[in-house]
Structure formats: structure tokens, C-alpha cells
Subunit: 351 residues, 4 copies
């Protein structure tokens, strides 16, 4: 059976998970190389996991002809540039969310993808989570009737270290965190967000405002077909990593999400202690694996990706509107540009 | 021991519950009379429950000198007028929420209360619910640290019949339903809402728009001290009456609410079937009783009420701003009028 | 409306709850007197709750002609004697479980009841719990099909103080605690237990063995119609008062019970903290009230009681067999004596 | 890196899962061959999964020198014979539970293992389940204090087809199902069961009695160090595959198990519908994979297995005692034979 030669760019927490999955649990992937701006770290990861090559940058890695496809897990602000480099080298691409942290970068990256005729999949891994997949199927089966409301919560256990903000390499809360929910609501409802209104707060960490970021946000959503929604993002829940979604319709409602990591609870004189999921890599372990398996099979199978460049762009447009509302204190229309359906989905005959 | 002579005005679903509680489970109340514009219905209720007198209106009922206090459970739009009548007759007053359905009516009612020097308690019964009381105590104890987010959901199982809208006697969703949450967030956070933004929808029942009402609303909230919030109201959840609140802070979070009515679940080949609470009288049965017991003891004890005219007015001001935002599609400041602390709390020496 | 004159014998924790319920929440009861071997305590309780008379013993209290019925909440070993005294005085009787702590006492008490023609209700309050009532109805409706298994758990939070054992006034675990489940399984399945097998342990408190008691027991049950069951009792669960029951059938299963006292949960860095019910008076508050209301209405209504002398005797027979199995380490048949249906149910024409 | 050549005997439901795991998700295993008495089925499975060789029997398969280890997933009654054949061929062995369906077969199999000096791991996969592992750790950490009670439930959704009983290839309920719990309680408590008492029923399927089997059982357990326990097994729960365990101690309690398969729930007018796990391959998917990964690593690493021949024998001895109690209606001592610690754990220097 043919295998796909893969190189991973960026081997921080997220990239390393992709590396481990590709190395151990995606039999049809050949993990050829890793790259990281910290080349010593790249070499160490390569050594630990038995990967032959390591590089200090994506550009060098893409020169290898046995690298068929590239996984980009660099900081948010470097995603668009990574896509341009990989596309220029003719590689198929898996890029972590967000596609970019502004629309100009996004369009430049998509233009490069289009010119090169390569394929691009965006890392919205929740679409691969068994619970969200079950919810999606129930909605499509008509179990909720007509959707009226969609609510989503994304809470991190602990805020990032201050150095994270100082480095300025990641987008603000809307680009780094809420973007998952922006994609989720589009996907679950098969509908588009046309306007948003955001309230944000920095109350418990005013310093974060200096870096243009916030600690919590509530984004009200208006959809094209009449539904409304609200998304919460928060960085300091303390009790765990908490991702939950409710789809509320004319006939029924679906709740996705659970605080409990494993079905085991300790009861004692203090009360009940249950292991809450602590972070995304734990809660979405299955999803990250399924996502990478699908990416490899899709690339080997000459099929267009399931999570497309357009999905990446649409979610970004909502995030941009949310940031504008946060700044202007007014509702803000989501400016949808021209439809890029044809971009990053491979040769026309595949679609 | 002294007892309080009580008359109840309006013996629909809500009023009848107050009548039953006063008759059966508030030993220090003497339920003297009931009144209803449907005088035959008032007479029937009086007969069933062994109440001596029934009237076609509040005015006649307040002429009785053995009626010390009046419970007003008439339609929303008649609350303010009921307060004026009862105050003019010198009776202490328990009035169901909302205080009024517009600010003019509210101020006129409060002026009458002030002139008469009577006391006024507003029917925000959630403040008497054991779960919300426990949450309140935990917040005051510092268990959540500084509140950052507050979310509240209020879903009814089935929409009211069309006749309800045609009669036009109740305020729109914000006055009839969301007002509970407007009060709740003020009470739980000891903070004031300064601005709101609302999205609403009538998508699944466009006819309701003809009556100025909506089927669902999401109201974003901005608080004076930096917290933000979101409230959802919906009239057709189908699966039950669902009231839940989350208070999310810098140190911990509190979740209030449970879908399960009783701790019994049937499992069979269809799955698990649990008895979800079907409506407010079931979910808040304990709260409605505790509220009425407190009202009677407060009036007998010459103490100021715990849920005050000011509470009624503040919640109404938020509802008015939410309606304005719904109409203008813009965020709307909450215009807080002069502080009416002194109104409806009885003689000055009591405060 | 006629009212029932009631006297309560034994005003410890349980008796005091009956006193409070009768005084505050059973409008058709006139609580005339309380009695306790600690006469100062009886006088204090009477004073606190505005009860006119207090006595040092049941006998004196039953001399009052305005006492129509007696509630017996004395220590377990005194129940049978209390029944004999009250019956001899011609009073209707509510007696806490167990009916007696041995069969000889039980038969003597029932003979006295029969001679006097008075009525006797046994305090199996779980039959009045809304969740257990819902389960009972679902079983009767056929939702579980044919019952195959019944499991019940009764765990106390903390063991009684050593003085409780030294006083020797209560029956061992089977009579004091497990007896609730012995009644419950008969009632829920409408079936009789024909044989039991018990394992017990004193491992964590060997001293308790000196008093003939145990800290935990598991009783296997065989029913007449083919079902089997298991009951657990334990005195030191530490995390709360935990009563749960599962009825498992050919078509479905029903789970009754919940650890959570109120629908409020605190989440913080330690995990989730939920208020577990701490003891029987909390978990079964509604049931105790409904039980006493039913007793008063039944006595006023000249109806036979719903929880009968036979129910008390049957549960006791199972407890006696369980104790025998505990001693002999063998399964033990439940020796059902002659049917006492006619005892304690009032005049024949009522049945 | 060295890989382990593996052959799987028996490719029914269970064996096929092992085949899939070895083929797809255990990188250090080379799945060389499958064998099944239905040789056409073996060939089909081999074809579907890209396995080179298939055989009609274990004996032929073990002739291959590239088969280093054998996985036995044949019907229960053939396990012991399979072990003898594989041991005689000098192969290391993974055998599904039970080790055998009677003690004679078990001892013969272990003698063959000892003669051959091969290693033997028994398929008690619950020991690899994340929730049970977390519980085990909490017990070892002292979180429950001294264990007093252990309760375990194992319910299958639907009974096996009648042909299953007619074929007579599997042991009765105690050997096929309850044996998991017999192992679990030993492992969790680090204690031995010294006596059992069993009640069983065939009430809803009397025909099963013709085959010496039962539809439900409750087994009371007495442990060497003073704890007591109860295990329930049932074959027709209808609502799902339900495995739960409670360890109740002097300081705290641990509950393991959850009915919910995925964190998604549909609510509609019928109530709440949650996807209950339907069978063992779903509930224990992670455990089956971890078990096979551990087996392969253990064999490659020249370490003794973690789930030993002794574990298989001890659980079987409890099952034999339970069956004897079921037949005699008396408690039955567990006859522990000589300690076979040295059997199946590889060369002495490894231990």
C-alpha cells in the first residue's frame, strides 16, 4: 500500500501530538522529518521518536522530495507564511487553526495555494470528535427540527504564561480559541453568521489589555436563516478544560460536552472529586488522531479535504468581525469575501 | 400568635399556587379572600379551598378591614394598577414580577406606595430556591473569587397558546420571562448591569412578531465592575422547563440547575428516560412556598421586605433596555433612575 | 373540619421531626402533647414549639382524652411495649420502624392492637418519597417487564457514637437500617422474600462486635416468584447519606437515588464539590411530611392505614432471618407466620 | 526495532478485535497469521486486513517459525487445549478469559506452560481501562482507607442467541461474564476471596436451565482480610452494556463506571436520550488496545506478564465455588490450590 511522506513544522505541544500520532498510530504515514525554529528541540524530538530528519525551518524541510505533505503547527501568526512556503514547494498542506490572524495574510496564503494547485486542510479537529459527530448526525436527521439557538462554551483551565503574550506570536482570544466555535456553529447548522456583537473583559488581568488581548468574551451571533447564538471563551476556569455546546431547536435540543474525563469518582468527607479534563490534548485526543488519519487518507486518496480553505477563511472572517465589535462596542457585520470554494481542494476533476 | 389577613388578586395558575400555599402551609396566614375578574372562577376557587370571601376585583377586596396584605397575581400589564389600588387602601403588598411593563407605570405605582407608606415585595422567587441560595452563599464566601462571567438560561417547555398573545395582557419575553434572570444576576453578583445587547428571533413562529413578541432571545450584559454576562430565554424547548445558571470567576465556578425533576430514571431499549421538570410551579415549588412564608413573617414582623421595590424597578430597567436593543439592533445603556431605596420598605425606623 | 389530637412519644431526632411536621405543616393535626423519658427535654421541646402538655412517659400521655392518636418514636427496643400501652388506651398508633426487635415482642404488640381494635401504621417513610413512588408506578405500569433483580444500598455518613451501642436500646444493623430495604423490596416487587444469605463485617470497628452489631452487611435475597436481590447496609460512608435502589427487569430497569442534595455544584482547582445529602432527615424530608399527613388524614377518614402491621411484621421476619444467617453463616429461610392482615387496620367494614 | 510475530487463533467478534488492533495500532507487532475452525472465515479476515497467512487450526499456525506468540480467542471450553498446543510449540501466549472452564483443564494447561517455559498472559482487559487504573491508584494511595465493601455489576444488553447455548462451547455465566469481576475484586483489593454464596435465576428464560446456565446471578463474597462483596451478572439489561464498580472504605469510596458512551444527549418531548454503551468492544475499546500493546511490549521486553496464569487460576477457582454454591444453595469455600506463581512468567531470572 502506498504511504504518504509527511513533514511536521513546529513541534511545540500541538505539533508534537501530531508527530506522535503520525509516528505511532497512522500506519499509512511515513513521518520523514520535523522542523522547528528551535533546531535543537527539533533534533531532540526526532531522536526520541525515531524520525530520520530534522530541520531549523519549513523551507529546508520542503526541499526533500520524499516529503509529500506538510503539517503546519507553528505559532498562529506564522500559519499564513507557512502555507505560502509549502504551497510554493508543491506540497499538500494540513494547517492548524487559524488560517491566519488577519484577512490580508489569509488571502495571500490562499492565492499561493490556488497558484500551486495543492490541497489545504484546516485543523478544526472538533469536527472529528465522536460526540460532535453524533450531534451533527442528529441535527441532519432532523432530531432538533429547525435550529433556533446555538450556544458554545470554551474554557481553558489556566491562562497562558505572560511570555506567551509578550512574544505576540499568537492571535488574540478570538483567533486562538473562539475560532473553534466560529467553525463549529457554521458546520453544525450549515448556516452562515452574518453579524456579531461582542463584550469582553480584562478585569482580573488588566495587563493583558496591553497586548490587545482579553481574558473572557461573550459573542452574540446572528445567522442568515434566522437562528441566533452565543459563544463564551475564557482563559482561567481553574477547574479544568471545559468545552460544551447546546443546539436548541423547534423539536429538540442536543447537549454536547462533559466535564468528566474518565468515569471514576472519589467520594469522601470533602465531597465528590471527579477528574475533569485538564486540556485540549486530553479532551480531544481521539479527534486529533482521527483528523490526522483522515488527512493522510485524503491525500493518498486524491480526494478534496473535508475541512477546507473556505472553512478556514469563513471562521477567520467571523473572528475579525468579533474583534471589530470588541473595539467599537457595536454589532459588526461579517464581511464575506468572494467564495473560495475552488481553492485548496485539489484538481477540479476531484470535486 | 398574631396572624396576617391576606387577600389574593388573580387566581390563574400562579395566583392559585399562592392561594394553596397560604391556605395549607403558611400557618400564620389567614387567607380571607380571593379576587378575580372572572368572579365565577374566584368563587369556585374560594369554595374548593374553604376561603370565606370572593370578589370580582381587587378594589372591593381591599375594602375589607381584615385584609392586612394583598398578593397581586394578575396579568403583567395590570400589576402597576393593582399596586396603586392596594397602596391607596393602605395594604402591604406582594406583587408578582414584573413590577410593571413600562417605566411610567412603574414610577406611578412606586409613588403610590411611597405616599401610602405601605411595604412592597416583588415576586422574584428564585431568591428563595435552596440551590440558588446555596450558590449565593458560596459567592459571598469568596468561593468563585472575582466573578468574570455569568450565564443564565430560561427555557419553557411549550409556548403559550396564541390567545395569550392576542389578549396582550402580558409583557413580551423580556418582561415575562427574562426578567427573572435580570434580577438574578444583580442579586448574585451584587453588581449593576450598565449596558445590554440583544439578538432575538421569531423564525419558528413568525406570527408572534405581529404581537411585538419573540420566541427566543440572547442578551449580552456588561456590568459596572467589569464582569460580562449572557442570558438566554426561549419558549419552546419541548423537553422540559430548564433553568440553569453558571457563575464563572477567577477562583472557581458555580453551576446551578438540573434537568432532573426527581432522582428516578427508567432505562430500556430506547435509552434512558428521566423526568425533566415540566414547568415553573414544579421546579420552584419550594421557592414559591418559602417566598410566601417569608412575606407573611416579614409583614407580621414589621421588617422591610427582602426583595424590594428597587429590585423590581432595576430589573425592569434592564428589560426596557433589552427591548430597545432588540428594536434598534444596537447596544443600549441601562438608564437607572433615582434610587428608590426608601420606597416600599415601611417606616424609616425599620430600615 | 375535624382535627386529630396527637401525642408524640420520644422526642429525639426522629420524634422531633414528627413534632415539627405535625405542628407546622399538618393543618388537620392538633399536637396536644409530647412525652419523653427525659421529661426536662420533653418540656423544652413543648415550650419551643408551643405545645401545651409534656409528659415523662407514654402511659401518662395516653390518659388524656384529647389525644386521639399516638406517634411512637422511642428507641427500637421499646416500640412493641409502646404499641401495647397505646393500644390498651384505645389510641390509634403510628409507630416508627421496626415494629419490634424480635418476633415475640412483635406478636405480643399485634395481639394488643387486635384486642383493642385500634389502627397501626408503620413508619416506612420511603413509600412516601416522590422518587420511590414514581418508581413504584413505573413498575406497576409494566415498564420493567418482569423483575429479575433488585438491589438496594443504604449508607450512613458517620457511625453512631459508642454510647449508642452501649445503651443497647436499638436493634442491630438489620433492625435499625436494613429493615427499610426489606420493606422496600416487598413493596416495589409485590413479592415475598423466602430465603436470605448474609455476610457481615466488623473489620474497621471490632469493638462493635461486643454489642452484637456489625459495620456493614450484604444480604442476598431469594423471592417467591423467581427474582433475586441484594441489599447493602453500611454505617461509615464518610461522604454522605446514600440511599439508592435499582430494579432490573426483562424489559427495562429503574434507578432510584441521587447523591446530590441540591442542584448546585462548585468547581475549582480541587475539582467539583457537590452537596451530598448528609442524613435521612434531609434526604427524606418530603417523605416524612407526606407520611405524617397521610397518617392524620387516614385516621380522620376512618380508612385502614397504607403501611400496615403486616408490613411491619414481614420486614421484621426478614431481618430475623438475616441475623440468623449472619450468626450461622448459612442461608436462612424466612419463616412467615400466620397472615395478620386483619390486625391494626380498623373495623372490618373499613377494609 | 525488533517486532513480535503474532498469530491469532479464533477470529470471532473478540478475536477480530485483537486482529484489528494488532494490525493497525500496535506498530511493534507483525501479525503473521490467523486461524479459525471456520477456515473460510479465517481466509476472509486475512484478506480484508492484509494478513499473509490463514489456517484452519491453531496447531498448523504454530508450526510457523515467524510466529513468536499466539493470541487465543477461541470459545471458552477450548482455551485450555489451545494453551497446551501453543505451549508445546514453544510460543508465548495471550489467552482470553477464562483460563479454562474447570480446574482439571486449567491445571493441565498450566503444567504444559511450565514444561515449556513459555509465558502466559490472561485477557482481563479491565485492568487496562483508564478508569479502573485510576481507581486502582487511588486505592493504593489510601484514598478509601481500609476497604470494607466492594460491589460490581456486569450487565449485557441482549442475551446471546439460543444457538450459543446449544453449541455448549462457552462456560456458564460465572465463567463467561462474572469471571471479569472475580479478577477485578482480587486486583483492586489485593486480597483473596475465601468463600462465596450465589443466588441465581432463570425466571425469564427457563429454557436456559436445560443448558446448565442462568440469566442472572448475585454472588456474595467474603475476603481473607475482612472485607465483603457482591457481584451481579445479568444477560438482558435491554438498555445497554453496563459495567460499574464501587469500592467502599473506611475513609472514602470510589465509583467506577458510566452508562454514557459519548458526551452527547438528545432532549425532546420524549425526555432525554443518551447513547448508552452497547457492548464490551465499545466500552472497553481503549482497554483492549492497551492490553494488546502491553502484551507485545512485554513479550519483546523479556518481562513477565502483568496479568498472570495465577490470576487466571484464582478467578477460575472463585467461579467454580460460585457454581457449586449455585448448585448446592450453600455458601462454598474457595479452594485455592498450590500457588502457581512461577508458571507462565518466563525464565526465573526475569521475575
Amino acid at each position: 500500500m502506498a504511504t504518504l511522506g509527511v513533514g511536521v513544522a513546529g513541534v511545540g505541544e500541538m505539533g508534537r501530538r501530531h508527530v506522535e500520532n503520525l509516528r505511532r498510530s497512522v500506519p499509512n504515514a511515513r513521518l520523514v522529518a520535523v522542523a522547528d525554529v528551535n533546531s535543537a528541540h527539533a533534533a531532540r524530538v526526532a531522536g526520541e521518536l525515531g524520525i530520520e530528519h530534522s530541520f531549523a525551518g519549513l523551507e529546508a524541510m520542503t526541499e526533500r522530495s520524499d516529503v509529500d505533505a506538510v503539517v503546519i503547527a507553528t505559532p498562529d501568526k506564522l500559519h499564513a507564511e507557512g502555507i505560502r512556503i509549502a504551497a510554493a514547494a508543491g506540497k499538500d498542506i494540513f494547517c492548524e487553526k487559524p488560517l491566519a490572524t488577519n484577512l490580508e495574510d489569509a488571502h495571500a496564503a490562499l492565492a499561493a495555494v490556488q497558484r500551486a494547485g495543492v490541497r489545504l486542510q484546516i485543523g478544526f479537529m472538533r469536527r472529528y470528535d465522536p460526540a460532535y459527530l453524533a450531534a451533527k448526525k442528529q441535527i441532519e436527521d432532523g432530531d432538533v427540527g429547525e435550529p433556533v439557538l446555538i450556544k458554545s462554551i470554551g474554557r481553558d483551565k489556566d491562562p497562558p504564561p505572560m511570555a506567551f503574550y509578550e512574544a505576540g506570536l499568537n492571535g488574540m482570544l478570538f483567533y486562538n480559541n473562539t475560532i473553534h466555535d466560529f467553525d463549529l456553529v457554521r458546520w453544525l447548522l450549515r448556516d452562515e453568521v452574518v453579524e456579531v456583537h461582542a463584550y469582553t473583559t480584562v478585569a482580573i488581568h488588566p495587563r493583558i489589555a496591553h497586548y490587545g488581548d482579553v481574558v473572557a468574551a461573550l459573542v452574540n451571533l446572528k445567522f442568515a436563516r434566522g437562528a441566533i447564538g452565543n459563544i463564551e471563551s475564557y482563559i482561567q476556569a481553574t477547574y479544568g478544560y471545559d468545552v460544551r455546546t447546546e443546539i436548541v431547536g423547534s423539536r429538540g435540543s442536543i447537549f454536547v460536552g462533559s466535564l468528566q474525563q474518565r468515569p471514576v469518582t472519589l467520594f469522601d468527607a470533602r465531597g465528590s472529586l471527579r477528574p475533569v479534563a485538564d486540556q485540549f490534548l486530553t479532551r480531544f485526543a481521539d479527534a486529533y488522531l482521527a483528523e490526522m488519519q483522515d488527512f493522510v487518507e485524503t491525500m493518498l486518496g486524491d480526494r478534496p479535504p473535508q475541512v477546507t480553505a473556505e472553512d478556514g477563511l469563513r471562521a477567520l472572517e467571523i473572528a475579525v468581525a468579533a474583534e471589530e465589535s470588541h473595539r467599537s462596542s457595536k454589532p459588526c457585520a461579517v464581511e464575506a469575501g468572494a467564495r473560495p470554494e475552488a481553492i485548496g481542494t485539489g484538481p477540479a476533476h476531484l470535486r
